[in-house]
Amino acid sequence: MQFEAREHTPVAFLLIVPLVAVLCSMLLASLLIIWAGQSPLQGFALIFKGAFGSSFAITETLAKTTPLIFTGLAAAVAFKAKFWNIGGEGQLYCGALAVTWLGTGIVDLPPILMIPFLILVGMIAGATILMLPVFLKNQLKVDEVVTTLLLNFIILLFVGYCLEGPLKDPMSMGWPQAAPIIDSGIFPTLIERSRLHLGLIFALLAAVIIWAIFRFTLWGFEIRAQGLNATASHHAGINSNWTIFKVALLSGGLAGLAGVSEVAGLKGYLTLDISPGYGYTGIAVAMLANLHPIGVVFSALFLASIFVGADFMGRSIGVPNFIADIMVASSVLCILIGLLLCKYRIRFNSSRLKQVIS
């Protein structure tokens, strides 16, 4: 088996690859649905119905898309520079924590100022916590994968402490939850009587802005160059430590925004379960989009529909909803193969000798 680098990747490939990856993951899911004694076709029909079957379902799916766009962008930005930020989950909670701290009464501004203020606060918090791994990586050469991963656990424990101690809502009847965000800080809902909120618009805006940064700015070019070939970009005069620092600011800020949007948009107050692993799923979102900011929007929508739909299927025919995570994970693995095929052509040589002779 040999790999032959392609000079051009057909554009169609880049669109087909995610689709084929999704199909493969559906194949695996079908096996599991059959095991659960149900028909896969009915299963997928229920997933679709659960995600898009009614206007309520659609708003739920879009509400779930919102944090995934943010964490997906966070992962995409970082991975583009080959900075392995696996700490999206922790940064999300940092953003949520900061917003809870400053949004529950300490600061009171009119909504037009309060919402941007909270967004800024959440971004700063998410970015700040990522500075520790960046510092350790740049100054001491400590691998960022492990530090960002371990920080997730530390931050979650810290949030748990805050919710039982200093930030606990005295009106919460003993539940570990924080006081609600004041009214002027709450994101307005987009559709009456739904959970869909302004965060979605911010998420879409963020995707466009990140796309523009990648496409049009020198900074975006530096990020891409850093990821493609760190040595070459270093020789071209790009300061890699500085680039990684800026990438981390952006990545952590975006993940923090996911926390802001969940607390100030969806839930209204902070609990320990605002994120069922959005930070980790963000990695899948980014991979499925091949790290393209606009692609992130679509892959976030797709994965959100799987999660919402699988919940519905679980309630209807009793297939455990872990099937959603399985589909996400297997499509990530499939897309890796697909992207490889975009870059290389695989040749299966019946005999290498023939090649040597000719």
Binding site: W35, I86, T147, L150, N152, F153, F158, G160, A284, L336
Partner: protein, 314 residues
């Protein structure tokens, strides 16, 4: 003096040994993968899968040794999957590992839910019992520390010299280390890098799974959600701390387990002054600290993270 009391109690040392066991298995597993040049971030999920598989085997009526073997088998399967991606196809080891972790843990939970629907309290099995060490077990202090453990615990400690022997004294070990340092030279000896790395990742992954199984059929008696709780990531930090040497990995795991055992005991004494979350954070903080200490002089296997492709210059 409170801390002195802790050090003088036999139960502290016995607990240290128990806590170290899953870490020893998984750290050695990760170490073997990395010595062959493959970072295995699937560790967290593979440990979950092993914990579930080993427990389920016993719950379904299999014997305990069979539980270990079955966990190892499941681990090797995930290792094979990992190797297909990272060794044969040579795609990103980071993303593959995260993908395997997500796949292995969600599959474990799915299977658990399928086989045991509608269970609210996790069902229990009869785990490994302490080996009857005769009069040795009754020795003061030493008896409780060293001679009141399960077979599984002794297996963990016996594994260390075995891994050291394999890595440093056998041709397979030499090939494995070469695959992680200079794969081209291995290939020029006529040994396939693909085969060696695949074996290493499969064997390493099976050890990770056995480490997970230790939790469910020796340390505890049930499987519950999120029970690995970052232990896999801690093991990755321990491998770096041990600078990729199995002997130091044992030392690191023991040191770490000792601090963990101390943390629990301090919690009892200081729990009223210091929130318990601080104590729970300690293992993760310590792992980061351990990496910081050694990071500057860390001697990574030279070909770590580098896919090998025949006929390509590295």
């Amino acid at each position: 003096m409170d801390i002195l009391d802790i050090f003088l109690s036999a139960s502290f040392w016995a607990a240290t040994i128990r806590i170290a066991c899953p870490l020893i298995f998984a750290t050695l597993g990760e170490l073997i993968c990395e010595r062959a040049g493959v970072l295995n971030l699937g560790i967290e999920g593979i440990m979950t899968a092993g914990a579930m598989a080993g427990w389920m085997w016993v719950y379904q009526g299999g014997d305990l040794i069979g539980g270990i073997v079955f966990a190892a088998f499941i681990g090797a399967l995930f290792g094979l999957l990992h190797a297909q991606f990272t060794v044969i196809l040579g795609v990103s080891q980071h993303v593959t590992g995260i993908g395997i972790t997500m796949l292995a843990s969600s599959l474990s939970y799915f299977v658990f839910n399928m086989l045991l629907p509608n269970t609210t309290t996790p069902p229990k099995v009869v785990p490994f019992q302490t080996i009857d060490a005769g009069p040795l077990a009754n020795l003061p202090f030493v008896g409780e520390v060293f001679f009141q453990h399960t077979f599984f615990t002794y297996l963990a400690f016996a594994l260390v010299p075995m891994v050291i022997y394999i890595l440093y004294k056998t041709p397979l070990g030499l090939a494995l280390r070469t695959a992680g340092e200079n794969p081209s030279s291995l290939e020029s000896q006529g040994i396939s890098v693909f085969v060696i790395r695949t074996i290493a990742v499969m064997f390493g992954s099976s050890l990770m799974a056995v480490g997970g199984a230790y939790l469910t059929i020796s340390a505890f008696d049930a499987f519950y959600f999120g029970m690995i709780n970052g232990r896999g990531w801690i093991c990755i930090a321990l491998v770096i701390f041990a600078s990729w040497q199995p002997g130091k990995a044992l030392l690191g795991a023991l040191l770490f387990a000792g601090l963990d055992a101390m943390q629990v005991r301090m919690q009892l004494q200081l729990g009223t002054f210091i929130p318990y979350q601080v104590f729970l954070m300690l293992p993760y903080l310590l792992s980061i600290a351990a990496m910081v200490i050694v990071a500057r002089k860390a001697k990574y296997p030279k070909a770590l993270l580098q896919p090998f492709r025949r006929g390509e210059r590295n």
